[in-house]
């Protein structure tokens, strides 16, 4: 006899409210269906009603965690059509902004993953250390997340030399902690029991379903837009593309933590190698006819913007393909064959940003009875 466990739309495991219909036989998950769109805000259409300058701020607000990635993808496309170059110093500042964002996003993910397996101490530690980076963003650009430091043709704020020591100091602290966390995650018995061999996505499956970012790299796909289609200053900064082989939840956590170390290296190098000069090229607001498809490696993977311009101050069409959208089809193979107790951590493992809460309704198909389970009860199943 199979049961249907609907998760969402108001559920923790996703950045936006989304609905997962999970069919189970006993404890085992036999089928998964996804319903998206509960927070579809029509931003693609809205962007075609706004000037490029105005649209930039809207594009940044597509996501509450990765505004820098969204702005860079949007800018890259606009600058490509308009033929605007970005000054060298600004390219380095953009790189630093994007990497600071990647660090805080990956630590946010790691904290949530710890929370999902009931390891609250580790969750607190990850989020404590995330503050190191958020404080840096605030110091450099005046805001922790939505700092809008990028603009068409460059950046809006320079990094001053008296700010650099503080950046290096915080990064050194963070590096030490993250190295320790990598050891902890790879060796702690609780974490291994809950994360190893759980929610496995094979390399073949990952490639066929067109998975992106750390989700794909955790399955051994050696692919990173920063290296393979470089933007900002990535072609001039040495870094390694991190991959893991196993494709399980553990690999997805380790890939992100190891990427944090690479991000720290990138920022150090960028601060050191950053040339002087202007930080902004002039953008007059008018963009000629043309189209551009541009990508960046956002924190969760390949983020694609397509902009089609008929000439003028507003785009004709903007298409946005976010990484979580691309990774959605991978959720099914990760969940099927597992148990309900694994659902929170497996959903979390693609890092779909968490938002709201906390109910699971278990429907008995035969009797039609429903039972609402709180997240605490769901976690209780883990124990």
């Amino acid at each position: 006899m199979s049961f249907v466990v609907p998760i969402g739309p108001q559920h923790p495991a996703l950045e936006e409210p989304e609905h997962f219909r999970i069919e189970v036989k006993g404890e085992e998950i036999v089928d998964v269906d996804i319903r998206l769109g509960y927070v579809h805000r029509g931003i693609e259409e809205a962007l075609s009603k706004r000037t490029y300058m105005h649209g930039l701020f809207l594009a940044q607000r597509v996501c509450g965690i990765c505004p820098v990635s969204h702005s860079l993808a949007f800018l890259r496309a606009v600058e490509e059509i308009a033929g605007i170059g970005c000054p060298d110093r600004a390219r380095y500042i953009r790189t630093i902004g994007a990497e600071l964002e990647r660090i805080h996003s990956h630590l946010l993910f790691a904290g949530i993953a710890a929370h999902e397996i009931g390891f609250t101490t580790l969750f607190m530690l990850f989020w404590r250390d995330r503050e190191l980076v958020l404080n840096l963003r605030e110091m450099l650009w005046g805001n922790r997340i939505h700092s809008s430091e990028t603009t068409i043709g460059g950046v809006r704020w320079d990094i001053k030399s008296n700010q650099v020591p503080k950046v290096l100091r915080n990064l050194a602290l963070l590096e030490k902690e993250v190295k320790h966390y990598i050891d902890v995650v790879g060796s702690d018995r609780t974490i291994l029991a809950r994360c190893a061999d759980i929610g496995v996505l094979t390399k073949q499956m990952s490639r066929e379903l067109c998975a992106v970012g750390p989700t794909a790299r955790a399955s051994g796909v050696n692919w990173d837009i920063r290296r393979d289609d470089p933007y900002a200053a990535y072609s001039e900064v040495p870094f390694k593309v991190i991959t893991e082989r196993d494709g399980d939840v553990l690999a997805k956590i380790l890939v992100r933590l190891r990427e944090v170390l690479e991000s720290i290296r990138i920022i150090r190098h960028a601060l050191d190698a950053m040339p002087g000069g202007p930080i902004r090229a002039e953008f007059k607001g008018h963009v000629q006819e043309g189209e551009a498809t541009e990508r960046v490696e956002a924190n969760r993977g390949e983020l694609l913007y397509y902009i089609f311009s008929k000439g003028g101050e507003k785009p004709e069409r903007v298409r946005i393909r976010t990484p979580t959208y691309a990774n959605m089809p991978t959720v099914k193979p990760m969940l099927v064959g597992g148990t309900i107790a694994e659902v929170p951590i497996v959903l979390a493992s693609i890092d779909p940003c968490f938002a709201c809460c906390d109910r699971v309704t278990v429907v008995d198909k035969c009797t039609g009875k429903t039972q609402v389970m709180t997240k605490a009860e769901l976690r209780g199943l883990n124990k």
Binding site: G37, L209, C210, D229, R295, E302, F308, R319, R321
Partner: protein, 141 residues
């Protein structure tokens, strides 16, 4: 790593107009008769990543663009469909990752994707009126 010129060689029999913007961007125009062959050829050469599918309302026509990561260059494979009856065959048998993008294309631009394994709505609510496609120019606001 594949070069832009190699990508052009692979698909040249199935496209009319190819533009290599730079080493990382190739744009090609194909048509309804040939796009599946072009995609199958790419797949046979171990190009598996379909980044997304974009639909654009051009007034009289709807253009459908397949953005394909060819391990280096990004190929934009474009075809035009008449707006009166826009329809094409699903490519989910070639690129399983296209499943959500095609549902998106169906509901947002009213392109009829035939043979789609799961042609339900994706983002729009269940009670959204039939025949009102939000990303078309004439969409009711």
């Amino acid at each position: 790593m594949m070069k832009a010129e190699q990508v052009v060689q692979l698909i040249k029999d199935y496209v009319k107009d190819v533009k290599v913007t730079n080493e990382r961007r190739v744009t090609a125009i194909t048509d309804k008769q040939h796009y599946r062959e072009a995609l199958s050829t790419l797949k046979a050469n171990d190009i598996l990543h379909l980044s997304t599918i974009t639909g654009v309302d051009l007034g009289e026509e709807i253009s459908v663009i397949y953005h394909i990561d060819c391990g280096g260059p990004l190929l934009n494979l474009k075809l035009f469909l008449p707006k009166k009856a826009p329809s094409l065959l699903s490519v989910t048998d070639i690129f399983p990752g296209a499943v959500l993008y095609e549902r998106d294309l169906m509901e947002m631009l009213g392109v009829d994707v035939e043979n789609h394994p799961d042609p339900r709505r994706l983002f729009l609510p269940e009670d959204w009126p039939d025949g009102n496609y939000p990303l078309r120019k004439e969409a009711k606001k």
